[in-house]
Symmetry: C2
């Protein structure tokens, strides 16, 4: 597949990666950040659904494969040095495996003294992923 | 300084880092993504202005130090596994050294076949950074 050349300069366990940010295409809420290797980028373009590279499992990660919480990709942008992607997505269910719509559900408050949950849970993780 | 413990799991040239995304606090436009080490995070909290770790120069990077295009930090969020931060900022000038308000000024179009500039330049880089 003839893809734009990205700068896969982020290396984790020998895998060459770009940073990929997912943002809700309507509300503009930032949902999560992960990595993609070239294969994940290609699969994302091919299928229209976000694929990442899991640096913990060292394998291709089709987001929502087990939970059904897939991300339908509406637009993809790249940054000035082409080592990062911004995906505008329609999020099915929720992005975060902890049950929140966005992974960024905690705010650092009081000059760094306090970590506060500022979002509502939208699903119970144990019902989606098992106990 | 007593900061929340983040997971500085992204290692570049031996430096332990978290990913840091900057987002316009009003329009929610994603401006850029970079890294922070613990020192950059602490300086960001202390000063209220975004500091990153430059992985190309291997040094602390006070965003806007030379250009004046600083980021006043309004809110900071952290994600589920605490290896990434989301900063909601008031961007002075523009975030991108290429002259665009956001670094994500190019869209990947036509199933990955085309890379198109979709934003307007807001300043001339050579006037800010020199030729």
């Amino acid at each position: 597949m003839d893809l734009p050349e990205l700068n896969y300069r982020h290396v984790v366990n020998g895998e060459k990666l770009v940073i990929a940010i997912a943002q809700d295409y309507k509300t503009e809420e930032v949902l999560m950040v992960a990595y993609m290797n070239r294969d994940a980028f290609e699969k994302t373009i091919e299928t229209g659904k976000a694929h990442y590279w899991s640096t913990s499992r060292n394998q291709l990660w089709f987001k929502g494969e087990s939970s059904g919480h897939v991300q339908e990709v509406k637009e993809i942008f790249t940054d000035c040095d082409q080592d990062a992607l911004l995906l505008k997505v329609k999020q099915v269910g929720a992005a975060c495996h902890q049950g929140y719509y966005s992974c960024f559900y905690r705010e650092i408050q009081n000059n760094g003294q306090k970590l506060e949950i500022v979002k509502e849970k939208v699903f119970a993780p144990e019902k989606v992923y098992g106990e």
